[in-house]
Amino acid sequence: MNGAQDLGGQMGFGPIELEENEPNFHAGWEERAFAVTLAMGATGSWTIDASRFARESLPPAIYLSSSYYEIWARGLEKLVVENGLITSEELAAGTKLSDPKPVNRVLKAEDVASTLAKGGPADRDVKQPARFKVGDRVRTRRMNPEHHTRLPRYARDTVGTIETVHGVHVFPDANAHGKGEQPTWLYGVAFKGTDIWGPDSDPKLSLRIDLWEPYLDLA
């Protein structure tokens, strides 16, 4: 979706705020928001793509004025309600009012290390041939879906070159919305900066963007 998260190429945000010896967390609630988000992810109630969609579909004014862990916390509030784990009445009251819904698992402290070490690989078995090969010239689709997508606006309807064939990966556009993983080929695509930003831009800039097959056509 064309939400506030799709920031590439936008202007006017001012200088980058750097902090020497920055801590991981700037307040106790940030630690909790981080850990609660990971622990709830481990219940298997939604996919990582669904969690990204929950954050990016926050109203733009809220997204842009919230710190990152606030975005996570607000995204998590949406996820737990949408998935029926808590009701909006419970959220408003801050009190348990109904029985829990069964979840696939509850992360225990002793399983944290092994769970993190395993991670969540996104590659899947190859069941269809790749449509493109290294060196192919491809054009990204002109599209403006209201659903989750990982083709940034700044790179739409633009010609690039297949540089890497990563393999078959879970397709976020489907997986974010309960439509299954629909694994499809993922490519590393190289773009000239001038093809994206125009002839006046830095001639020595190039970009690499990882894009799924449905985003691309032969140029």
């Binding site: 980058i16 705020e17 944290v112 020595k204 800039l205 970009l207 990882d210």
Partner: protein, 208 residues
């Protein structure tokens, strides 16, 4: 920070209250186990961070065979040093040279190679960096105090999928006989994102 100490609820910010309420509710419903939360925080506070990535870089600088394995299959080469898992499942190493400088961003969210760099700094997740890194990386680099020669190509990697990128910075001159342990001390977090360079042994560089 104004909320370091114990205060009445009335003095807690809206977001502090919301996160507290959410954690309490999810705990009461049995979906989360508080000791696991503490363990998650402890892991990223003490075990996972840019020191991991610095070991990878120092090994690649020191050992040509390891360097070759890292460039061929970064996920397994990094796993050799014991760093695997969440947000590092599909790693790719990209190497800086005199001709090419690599820089990594996630314009759509905050994708970052946790296994080697830990959790991303606030600036990496912020609108100023995410908006500008893909369009004006030299302007971004200037804010980090880095100026590249005009003829250097800048390659910006936008982390749109589950592939995570680790920049292999240029090895600083004057470190020919250095041990891996000593080399690792020159490898900054930012040099592995591509917003910085490895520290020079001759003068104090950035600590980030």
């Amino acid at each position: 920070m104004s909320h370091d100490h114990d205060h009445d609820h009335s003095e807690l910010s809206d977001i502090e209250l919301r996160v507290r309420a959410l954690e309490t509710l999810l705990t009461d419903k049995g979906y989360i186990d508080p000791p696991a939360l503490d363990e998650l925080i402890e892991t990223y506070e003490t075990k996972v961070g840019p020191k991991n990535g610095a070991k990878v870089v120092a090994r690649a600088w020191s050992d040509p065979d390891y360097h070759a394995r890292l460039m061929e299959d970064a996920t397994s080469a990094i796993a050799e040093l014991g760093f695997t898992g969440r947000q590092g499942e599909h790693m790719v190493a990209v190497e800086n040279s005199a001709a090419v400088h690599n820089m990594v961003v996630c314009t759509l969210c905050s994708c970052y190679p946790w296994t080697v760099l830990g959790l991303p700094p606030v600036w990496y997740k912020s609108a100023p960096y995410r908006s500008r890194a893909v369009r004006d990386p030299r302007g971004v680099l200037a804010e980090f105090g880095v100026t590249l020669p005009d003829e250097t190509e800048v390659k910006v990697w936008d982390s749109t999928a589950e592939v995570r990128y680790l920049v292999l910075p240029l090895r600083p001159a004057g470190t020919e006989r250095w041990s891996e342990e000593k080399l690792a001390e020159l490898v900054t977090r930012d040099s592995m994102i591509g917003t910085g360079l490895a520290n020079s042994p001759f003068h104090q560089g950035s600590t980030a």
